[in-house]
Symmetry: C2
Subunit: 383 residues, 2 copies
């Protein structure tokens, strides 16, 4: 059985005094310290990053990371747009399952705020198809079209979406590492500056810098010494057409559905067993899609259930979602997001989540999506 | 035991009528046809690519590949500069070892010639450190400094290097897919236009488009049906500081030495068991480094032994190197190179190498390097 035995996240936000590899270094040594081990215990590193090549002509990160940590261990970079962190985690888990090593560090980082906004937005469109880029579609535009398709079929409203933002901003106030730590009201979300109908700016996750790392082991001797550990019960990946026009349905993300089915089967669990989940809320509609596609809610009831705020911390329901603040309030440093999700579940399942602790959670689920749904990773954890 | 059961490579060269994903599509379906299987037999795809993000704002290739092949299978992109293909192969092998699937396709591709040369050269520098980029060092410059350090210590000459180019260009004439298919004389190499001392242009691998794919399986039932198969005996990765200033020694590549030791140990073989090898000759000096670092030649004797042409096809010696033409003559579409190396060994060990067939080879070795030596992969195959 593989276990997470340490986690570190930098502050998420506009970190203008730190470079990408400053953040990487902080996360690597922070996670090692949290796990209580030296770097010599690490057999390989997996790194999730999307945009360093495009934004700062910075590739070949395996050897940049070797320079930071010293020595000659294998380092692998995974890239799958906003799912880069999740993909890195998935590959790291396979690496351990292959007995290629006993303990690995999984890292995600992104530096997004040092550039003119249009540069970063253009770089983000690299996660969509060439045709979509040429049509001038940015990610708010792509998800806005999906939201409108959902509204048209199921009758959800802009106000339903606003409740997702309200909830995740509230959770963000409880997370010292979150990019945004202020509450927003449903009315503020509804009145926020339009981006792409039905989204206002408060329906959208921000441009964020940050890095996060977890230590993953199947070394039983090491595990015995660790005060806090969480088991990886399953991790599953699925893909889909990168272009919206190639999808069977725009009112959900099929890659999430397929990955979730595999992950639940692998863990031997059902959606109702999960008490805490971090899902990919890059836009408010995306959390509604996630809740339905993961099997927590039935298709079409997401608007109503989002408005009920049943997944808000302290609501008394059986499932709390995005206690970190989600992508919306904790921020979305693309490559780091998938790792921060795993780390948040580690905190929750080991009782280290402080003011945002969900009580009595035995199982947690992380859900990371690339682009407009062209790739998805679902991983399930247990204590 | 994992086996390669199919291989396809596109023509390598200046392929102005084909896009990156045209090449990807051709390689995927070519490899499936060569293996005699349908796409439904593939459980995952691993993709090596370096520069599509920087050159054409094209990331999230897992879902682009899903669009090409159809369906929802896991697709992973690995990036480690010029070692991207080898890293993809290594991860694919771990994926099978983890029992995450039975049969995978490993693919590498790069589209490099559609841009102004300075754009492509700048994108290539992304594989070096930020300081090296700021100093104006390109890869010919970095390897030229290493060559000069080697010359100073061991007394090798520009003429020794020229023999590497002569040999690999001769091999290229025997490979219908090679970028360059003409012989060059040692004198032509010596007189070729200076690039960075001691390199003339004929000491340097070219800017090339191309894609290559292999099918890797551990499905015994499938293997029985395949007329041609080669076993993967071991595959090992090592890293080093990305900056030359962080290296212990500039007269070789320590990452290669470490990966080679691991790979030989894993395969239970010694360098003298290898009869055919594809090594990373991005510059002529790099083949000399490779021969020494892999343990084929003693440190310092590389100049003399390169000049002896003992690794030329038909020389009668026990080891033939870079029968494909190497990076020098077959071309260097960065992400594809590591896969083409594996594919060339598949052809050689199954007796399908035609006019460049090495006789009686039982074991082969592939060696792929990232940047100036910040990462290296060594894989050993047997028939």
């Amino acid at each position: 059985m593989q276990s997470i035995i340490g986690y570190y996240t930098t502050k998420f936000g506009e970190l203008w005094d730190k470079s990408l590899f400053d953040l990487v270094e902080e996360a690597i040594f922070g996670a090692l310290k949290n796990a209580g081990i030296g770097k010599e215990r690490i057999d390989a590193i997996f790194f999730g990053n999307m945009m360093a090549g495009v934004l700062e002509n910075n590739l070949h990160s395996p050897s940049k990371i070797a320079e930071i940590i010293g020595g000659h261990i294998p380092v692998f970079r995974a890239e799958a747009a906003c799912a880069s962190g999740g993909m890195a985690f998935h590959l790291a888990s396979q690496y351990l399952a292959a007995k290629a090593g006993k303990t690995v560090l999984v890292l995600g980082a992104e530096k997004m705020t040092d550039y003119a906004p249009e540069e970063t937005v253009t770089a983000l469109t690299a996660a969509s198809s060439g045709e979509e880029q040429e049509a001038g579609l940015t990610f708010p535009g792509l998800y806005a079209m999906m939201a409108q398709a959902y509204f048209a079929r199921y009758g959800a409203t802009k106000k339903d979406l606003a409740h997702v933002s309200y909830k995740n901003h509230y959770h963000g106030t409880l997370n010292a590492h979150a990019h945004f730590r202020r509450k927003v009201t449903v009315e503020e979300v509804l009145k926020s500056a339009p981006v792409a109908y039905p989204f206002g700016v408060l329906d959208c996750s921000p441009i964020t810098d940050g890095a996060a790392a977890v230590v993953l082991t199947e070394d039983k001797a090491l595990l015995k010494k660790c005060p806090h550990a969480v088991s990886v019960l399953s991790t599953a990946v699925a893909t889909d057409s990168i272009s919206l026009k190639g999808r069977r349905d725009l009112t959900g993300i099929e890659a999430t559905q397929i990955a979730a089915q595999k992950a639940f089967k692998g863990a031997g669990l059902k959606p109702e067993d999960i008490r805490v989940a971090e899902v990919h809320d890059c836009f408010t509609i995306a959390e509604i899609f996630a809740m339905e596609d993961l099997g927590f809610w039935k298709k079409g009831e997401g608007g109503r259930r989002a408005s009920s705020l049943e997944t808000l911390l302290g609501s008394g329901s059986s499932l709390t979602v995005n206690t970190s603040g989600g992508l919306k309030a904790a921020g979305h440093p693309v490559g780091a997001t998938g790792i921060k999700q795993v780390g948040e579940l580690y905190l929750q399942l080991t009782g280290q989540a402080g003011p945002r602790q969900v009580k009595g959670a035995r199982y947690g689920l992380a859900h990371n999506v690339g682009g407009s749904g062209g790739s998805a990773i679902v991983s399930i954890f247990g204590k």
